[in-house]
């Protein structure tokens, strides 16, 4: 198979686009497609400063690399979750983010959950009802809270995440299986900062396949954490990605069509006018972030648990202790 652009041996074949490219043309194609998505969905203006949430995985580091190459003012934030599980998962992923940033002269903020809040995510998960049922639920809650706060407090125009097409299609299929209208109506490439205290969230890779973000990382020799998070084993996301990939094998483009047709249907009135799926939002009495119920938000209630350490350093001004 040959590169469509130059005729050299192809390094990747994207069946959904009927497009094969060599390394040199593929690593330019990804930024072009990313820029197109940013423009198409009006994610960001050229002069806006953004924060990229990096985990040490291929998607987020690839996104940071691409945004940097495109010339965006993109700083990074890494949240150290304190996950070890015998493989030093967090330590390894943090080191990869730090070396990535250092090699490119990029600014990376590190927030250590055990250092700032006194307990790792596995500890919190074991000691709380929410976490015992679903450790990933605690992790998501903590990450969303910290990222949103940093973005707002430090004046970033938007928070960019490395969610790719496979992530989006898997979430869409999951929510469609239960017709979770509230989640479906809010699934979009851009989550606007419609309420005070909420940061704008953008997903510049929402049309890029996961296979392509991995290929870009390999071709650009971006070192990323290859091991799966120990808590992701058996996750519903992996299940739905597998189902979608089986469809993709038979019908190239099935995943992309599923997602794009959903966005189009939403634009054309899939949901009743005025249906937002959102409850009325209140201001958390402790941290001030938006919350769906009056009183404290779910994040602050999590740390009220008496079996967790006292709130010694839960929230320091400009936290980014590196601890």
């Amino acid at each position: 198979m040959r590169c469509r652009t130059c005729g050299a041996p192809a390094a990747i074949n994207m069946r959904q686009h009927k497009l094969a490219l060599c390394r040199a043309h593929f690593v330019d194609w990804i930024p072009e497609q990313t820029e197109r998505a940013i423009d198409h969905y009006r994610m960001l203006a050229r002069d806006e400063k953004l924060l990229v949430a990096v985990s040490g995985g291929k998607d987020s580091l690839t996104l940071w690399d691409v945004l940097h190459r495109l010339g965006y003012a993109a700083d990074g934030v890494y949240i150290d979750l304190g996950i070890d599980e015998g493989i030093g998962y967090s330590a390894k992923s943090r080191a990869l983010c730090e070396s990535f940033a250092a090699a490119r002269g990029l600014a990376l903020q590190v927030v250590s959950v055990p250092g700032v809040y006194g307990a790792s995510i596995p500890d919190v998960a074991k000691k709380t009802l929410r976490g015992r049922r679903k450790p990933c639920s605690v992790c998501g809650l903590v990450k969303r809270h910290i990222m949103n706060r940093i973005c707002r407090e430090q004046g970033y125009a938007a928070l960019a995440t490395g969610h790719n097409l496979d992530d989006e299609a898997a979430v869409l299929l999951h929510n469609a299986m239960t017709w979770a209208g509230g989640y479906l109506v809010r699934q979009a490439p851009v989550l606007a900062a419609t309420r005070p205290g909420l940061a704008r969230k953008i997903k510049p890779f929402c049309r890029i396949y996961e296979r392509e973000t991995a290929a870009y990382a390999l071709m650009q020799k971006i070192e990323y954490i290859y091991e799966e998070c120990p808590y992701a084993t058996g996750s519903s996301t992996l299940y739905y990605k597998d189902v979608l990939n089986r469809m993709e094998e038979d019908r190239p483009g099935a995943k992309l069509q599923f997602y794009l047709a959903f966005l189009q249907a939403k634009d054309q009135g899939l949901f009743a006018p005025g249906f937002s799926g959102e409850a009325e939002l209140h201001e958390c009495l402790q941290c001030g972030q938006p919350t769906s119920a009056p009183g404290k938000c779910a994040f602050c209630r999590l740390w009220d648990n008496p079996s967790l350490p006292p709130p010694i350093a839960r929230r320091q001004p400009g936290e980014g202790d590196g601890g």
Partner: protein, 72 residues
């Protein structure tokens, strides 16, 4: 004299450190499927360079499969 115990030529796929011998002469895409993986969920590399899965496998060569799907 024909040796009855002659083995068909093999190519080796390597996935997360595990070595899987497959029959040479087929396409990489078919071999990936026969080894139990989805061609959509892996990338293939030979000598550190990515290759496309229409490639015909040669006897004795080793191809690394890189898992690309994560569940976070």
């Amino acid at each position: 004299m024909l040796r009855m115990d002659a083995q068909p030529p093999k190519t080796t796929l390597i996935h997360r450190g595990k070595r899987i011998d497959v029959r040479s002469g087929s396409t990489l895409r078919d071999a990936i499927r026969k080894a139990g993986f989805s061609p959509e969920a892996v990338l293939a590399a030979k000598d550190g360079e990515l290759i496309t899965d229409d490639r015909i496998l040669l006897p004795g060569e080793e191809i690394h499969l890189v898992a690309v799907i994560s569940g976070g």
